[in-house]
Symmetry: C2
Subunit: 101 residues, 2 copies
DNA sequence: TTTGTTTATCGCCAATAGACGATATGGTTA
DNA sequence: TAACCATATCGTCTATTGGCGATAAACAAA
Protein backbone atom coordinates (compact mmCIF):
# COMPACT_ATOMS: atom_id res chain seq x y z
CA UNK A 1 0.00 0.00 0.00
CA UNK A 2 2.92 2.33 -0.64
CA UNK A 3 2.82 4.10 -3.97
CA UNK A 4 1.18 7.04 -2.21
CA UNK A 5 2.85 9.50 -4.49
CA UNK A 6 3.02 8.52 -8.12
CA UNK A 7 -0.20 6.58 -8.00
CA UNK A 8 -1.33 4.70 -11.04
CA UNK A 9 -3.51 6.77 -13.35
CA UNK A 10 -6.64 4.83 -14.25
CA UNK A 11 -9.42 6.01 -16.45
CA UNK A 12 -11.93 8.15 -14.64
CA UNK A 13 -14.71 5.62 -14.94
CA UNK A 14 -12.51 2.92 -13.49
CA UNK A 15 -11.79 5.00 -10.40
CA UNK A 16 -15.42 5.98 -10.00
CA UNK A 17 -16.67 2.45 -10.35
CA UNK A 18 -14.11 1.16 -7.85
CA UNK A 19 -15.13 3.85 -5.40
CA UNK A 20 -18.78 2.92 -5.59
CA UNK A 21 -17.96 -0.77 -5.39
CA UNK A 22 -15.80 -0.23 -2.34
CA UNK A 23 -18.66 1.54 -0.57
CA UNK A 24 -20.90 -1.40 -1.43
CA UNK A 25 -18.30 -3.89 -0.23
CA UNK A 26 -19.78 -4.47 3.21
CA UNK A 27 -23.00 -6.34 3.94
CA UNK A 28 -24.14 -3.78 6.50
CA UNK A 29 -23.92 -1.01 3.95
CA UNK A 30 -25.80 -3.06 1.37
CA UNK A 31 -28.48 -3.70 3.97
CA UNK A 32 -28.66 -0.02 4.88
CA UNK A 33 -29.15 0.92 1.25
CA UNK A 34 -31.80 -1.75 0.78
CA UNK A 35 -33.55 -0.38 3.83
CA UNK A 36 -33.39 3.13 2.41
CA UNK A 37 -34.81 1.89 -0.85
CA UNK A 38 -37.79 0.28 0.81
CA UNK A 39 -38.42 3.13 3.25
CA UNK A 40 -37.39 5.81 0.78
CA UNK A 41 -35.86 7.62 3.75
CA UNK A 42 -35.07 7.00 7.39
CA UNK A 43 -33.29 8.31 10.45
CA UNK A 44 -30.03 7.08 11.92
CA UNK A 45 -31.86 5.88 14.99
CA UNK A 46 -34.10 3.64 12.93
CA UNK A 47 -31.06 1.87 11.57
CA UNK A 48 -29.51 1.51 15.01
CA UNK A 49 -32.67 -0.32 16.04
CA UNK A 50 -32.57 -2.57 12.99
CA UNK A 51 -28.93 -3.62 13.20
CA UNK A 52 -27.25 -5.13 16.26
CA UNK A 53 -24.43 -2.61 16.04
CA UNK A 54 -23.32 0.31 18.16
CA UNK A 55 -24.68 3.70 17.22
CA UNK A 56 -21.19 4.89 16.40
CA UNK A 57 -20.66 1.99 14.04
CA UNK A 58 -23.85 2.68 12.13
CA UNK A 59 -22.91 6.33 11.95
CA UNK A 60 -19.55 5.36 10.52
CA UNK A 61 -21.15 3.27 7.76
CA UNK A 62 -23.49 6.14 6.94
CA UNK A 63 -20.50 8.45 6.68
CA UNK A 64 -18.83 6.16 4.16
CA UNK A 65 -21.97 5.90 2.08
CA UNK A 66 -22.26 9.66 2.17
CA UNK A 67 -18.62 10.10 1.16
CA UNK A 68 -19.19 7.79 -1.77
CA UNK A 69 -22.14 9.95 -2.72
CA UNK A 70 -24.71 7.17 -2.50
CA UNK A 71 -26.79 8.81 0.21
CA UNK A 72 -27.45 12.27 1.53
CA UNK A 73 -28.60 13.57 4.88
CA UNK A 74 -31.11 16.26 5.61
CA UNK A 75 -31.44 17.86 9.01
CA UNK A 76 -34.89 17.42 10.50
CA UNK A 77 -34.05 18.58 13.98
CA UNK A 78 -33.21 16.90 16.15
CA UNK A 79 -32.90 13.98 13.76
CA UNK A 80 -31.22 13.52 10.42
CA UNK A 81 -33.15 12.06 7.56
CA UNK A 82 -31.09 9.97 5.17
CA UNK A 83 -32.14 9.25 1.61
CA UNK A 84 -30.60 7.72 -1.46
CA UNK A 85 -28.81 10.31 -3.55
CA UNK A 86 -30.80 9.67 -6.69
CA UNK A 87 -28.46 11.55 -8.99
CA UNK A 88 -25.37 9.58 -8.03
CA UNK A 89 -27.41 6.42 -7.74
CA UNK A 90 -28.19 6.69 -11.43
CA UNK A 91 -24.54 7.26 -12.21
CA UNK A 92 -23.51 4.23 -10.19
CA UNK A 93 -26.23 2.17 -11.78
CA UNK A 94 -25.10 2.99 -15.29
CA UNK A 95 -21.43 2.48 -14.42
CA UNK A 96 -22.16 -1.04 -13.19
CA UNK A 97 -24.49 -1.65 -16.10
CA UNK A 98 -21.87 -0.63 -18.65
CA UNK A 99 -19.20 -2.58 -16.81
CA UNK A 100 -21.14 -5.82 -16.94
CA UNK A 101 -22.05 -5.19 -20.61
CA UNK B 1 -13.82 -5.48 13.54
CA UNK B 2 -14.56 -7.67 16.49
CA UNK B 3 -17.80 -9.59 16.32
CA UNK B 4 -15.87 -12.53 14.89
CA UNK B 5 -18.13 -14.93 16.67
CA UNK B 6 -21.81 -14.16 16.56
CA UNK B 7 -21.66 -12.38 13.26
CA UNK B 8 -24.73 -10.65 11.95
CA UNK B 9 -26.87 -12.84 9.71
CA UNK B 10 -27.74 -11.00 6.52
CA UNK B 11 -29.80 -12.31 3.69
CA UNK B 12 -27.86 -14.46 1.31
CA UNK B 13 -28.10 -12.00 -1.55
CA UNK B 14 -26.82 -9.22 0.63
CA UNK B 15 -23.71 -11.18 1.52
CA UNK B 16 -23.16 -12.26 -2.06
CA UNK B 17 -23.54 -8.76 -3.42
CA UNK B 18 -21.18 -7.33 -0.82
CA UNK B 19 -18.61 -9.99 -1.67
CA UNK B 20 -18.69 -9.17 -5.36
CA UNK B 21 -18.63 -5.45 -4.62
CA UNK B 22 -15.64 -5.84 -2.35
CA UNK B 23 -13.73 -7.64 -5.07
CA UNK B 24 -14.58 -4.78 -7.45
CA UNK B 25 -13.54 -2.20 -4.87
CA UNK B 26 -10.08 -1.56 -6.24
CA UNK B 27 -9.27 0.24 -9.50
CA UNK B 28 -6.59 -2.28 -10.44
CA UNK B 29 -9.08 -5.12 -10.24
CA UNK B 30 -11.64 -3.20 -12.27
CA UNK B 31 -8.95 -2.57 -14.87
CA UNK B 32 -7.94 -6.22 -14.90
CA UNK B 33 -11.53 -7.27 -15.51
CA UNK B 34 -11.95 -4.70 -18.27
CA UNK B 35 -8.80 -6.06 -19.84
CA UNK B 36 -10.13 -9.59 -19.62
CA UNK B 37 -13.38 -8.49 -21.20
CA UNK B 38 -11.64 -6.93 -24.19
CA UNK B 39 -9.11 -9.74 -24.62
CA UNK B 40 -11.56 -12.45 -23.60
CA UNK B 41 -8.58 -14.14 -21.89
CA UNK B 42 -5.00 -13.41 -20.99
CA UNK B 43 -1.97 -14.59 -19.03
CA UNK B 44 -0.68 -13.21 -15.75
CA UNK B 45 2.44 -12.00 -17.51
CA UNK B 46 0.41 -9.89 -19.90
CA UNK B 47 -1.12 -8.04 -16.98
CA UNK B 48 2.25 -7.55 -15.31
CA UNK B 49 3.35 -5.79 -18.49
CA UNK B 50 0.24 -3.63 -18.59
CA UNK B 51 0.29 -2.45 -14.99
CA UNK B 52 3.23 -0.80 -13.23
CA UNK B 53 2.97 -3.23 -10.34
CA UNK B 54 5.14 -6.06 -9.07
CA UNK B 55 4.32 -9.52 -10.34
CA UNK B 56 3.41 -10.60 -6.83
CA UNK B 57 0.95 -7.75 -6.49
CA UNK B 58 -0.81 -8.59 -9.73
CA UNK B 59 -0.94 -12.22 -8.67
CA UNK B 60 -2.54 -11.17 -5.41
CA UNK B 61 -5.26 -9.22 -7.19
CA UNK B 62 -5.92 -12.19 -9.46
CA UNK B 63 -6.24 -14.38 -6.40
CA UNK B 64 -8.88 -12.11 -4.92
CA UNK B 65 -10.84 -12.00 -8.15
CA UNK B 66 -10.63 -15.78 -8.30
CA UNK B 67 -11.79 -16.13 -4.69
CA UNK B 68 -14.76 -13.92 -5.45
CA UNK B 69 -15.53 -16.19 -8.38
CA UNK B 70 -15.27 -13.48 -11.01
CA UNK B 71 -12.44 -15.10 -12.93
CA UNK B 72 -11.04 -18.56 -13.44
CA UNK B 73 -7.61 -19.82 -14.41
CA UNK B 74 -6.68 -22.59 -16.81
CA UNK B 75 -3.22 -24.11 -16.90
CA UNK B 76 -1.58 -23.74 -20.31
CA UNK B 77 1.87 -24.81 -19.27
CA UNK B 78 3.95 -23.02 -18.32
CA UNK B 79 1.46 -20.16 -18.27
CA UNK B 80 -1.98 -19.72 -16.77
CA UNK B 81 -4.76 -18.37 -18.88
CA UNK B 82 -7.30 -16.28 -16.98
CA UNK B 83 -10.82 -15.67 -18.21
CA UNK B 84 -13.99 -14.17 -16.86
CA UNK B 85 -16.08 -16.76 -15.05
CA UNK B 86 -19.15 -16.28 -17.19
CA UNK B 87 -21.49 -18.14 -14.88
CA UNK B 88 -20.71 -16.06 -11.82
CA UNK B 89 -20.42 -12.95 -13.94
CA UNK B 90 -24.07 -13.35 -14.86
CA UNK B 91 -24.97 -13.84 -11.22
CA UNK B 92 -23.07 -10.72 -10.20
CA UNK B 93 -24.61 -8.78 -13.05
CA UNK B 94 -28.13 -9.66 -12.02
CA UNK B 95 -27.43 -9.04 -8.34
CA UNK B 96 -26.26 -5.51 -9.11
CA UNK B 97 -29.10 -5.03 -11.56
CA UNK B 98 -31.70 -6.06 -9.02
CA UNK B 99 -30.04 -3.98 -6.34
CA UNK B 100 -30.17 -0.81 -8.36
CA UNK B 101 -33.76 -1.55 -9.41
C1' DT C 1 19.53 -33.81 -14.35
C1' DT C 2 19.94 -29.13 -14.88
C1' DT C 3 18.24 -24.89 -16.56
C1' DG C 4 14.84 -21.60 -17.68
C1' DT C 5 10.15 -19.77 -17.59
C1' DT C 6 6.00 -18.61 -15.36
C1' DT C 7 3.21 -18.01 -11.55
C1' DA C 8 2.01 -18.50 -6.63
C1' DT C 9 3.20 -17.95 -1.95
C1' DC C 10 5.71 -16.14 2.07
C1' DG C 11 7.26 -12.59 5.19
C1' DC C 12 7.36 -8.05 6.12
C1' DC C 13 5.64 -3.35 6.57
C1' DA C 14 2.48 0.70 6.49
C1' DA C 15 -2.10 2.09 5.87
C1' DT C 16 -6.90 1.35 6.08
C1' DA C 17 -11.15 -0.68 7.83
C1' DG C 18 -14.39 -1.99 11.28
C1' DA C 19 -15.79 -2.41 15.76
C1' DC C 20 -16.52 -0.28 20.34
C1' DG C 21 -17.24 3.11 24.37
C1' DA C 22 -16.78 7.75 25.59
C1' DT C 23 -17.28 12.30 24.51
C1' DA C 24 -18.53 16.38 21.79
C1' DT C 25 -21.91 18.89 19.05
C1' DG C 26 -26.24 20.95 17.58
C1' DG C 27 -30.77 21.92 18.26
C1' DT C 28 -35.26 21.53 21.36
C1' DT C 29 -37.66 22.10 25.14
C1' DA C 30 -38.52 22.96 29.95
C1' DT D 1 -29.95 28.83 31.36
C1' DA D 2 -30.16 24.00 31.95
C1' DA D 3 -31.40 19.52 30.70
C1' DC D 4 -32.31 16.49 26.99
C1' DC D 5 -32.45 14.49 22.48
C1' DA D 6 -30.17 12.48 18.28
C1' DT D 7 -26.11 12.12 15.88
C1' DA D 8 -21.22 12.77 14.82
C1' DT D 9 -16.56 12.43 16.10
C1' DC D 10 -12.56 10.83 18.81
C1' DG D 11 -9.44 7.43 20.63
C1' DT D 12 -8.26 2.79 20.87
C1' DC D 13 -7.98 -1.81 19.52
C1' DT D 14 -7.53 -5.67 16.22
C1' DA D 15 -8.03 -7.53 11.52
C1' DT D 16 -7.49 -6.89 6.84
C1' DT D 17 -5.57 -4.81 2.68
C1' DG D 18 -2.12 -3.60 -0.60
C1' DG D 19 2.37 -3.09 -1.72
C1' DC D 20 7.13 -5.11 -2.24
C1' DG D 21 11.20 -8.44 -2.75
C1' DA D 22 12.53 -13.05 -2.12
C1' DT D 23 11.57 -17.65 -2.52
C1' DA D 24 8.99 -21.82 -3.75
C1' DA D 25 6.60 -24.64 -7.00
C1' DA D 26 5.31 -26.58 -11.41
C1' DC D 27 6.52 -27.76 -15.70
C1' DA D 28 9.11 -27.68 -20.44
C1' DA D 29 13.09 -28.05 -22.73
C1' DA D 30 17.95 -28.70 -23.19
Amino acid sequence: MKRTLETIAYKENTEALAKFAKALGHPTRIAILKHLQSQSCCFTGDLVDVFPLAQSTVSQHLKELKNAGLIQGELKSPKIKYCINQENWKIAKSLFQDFFD
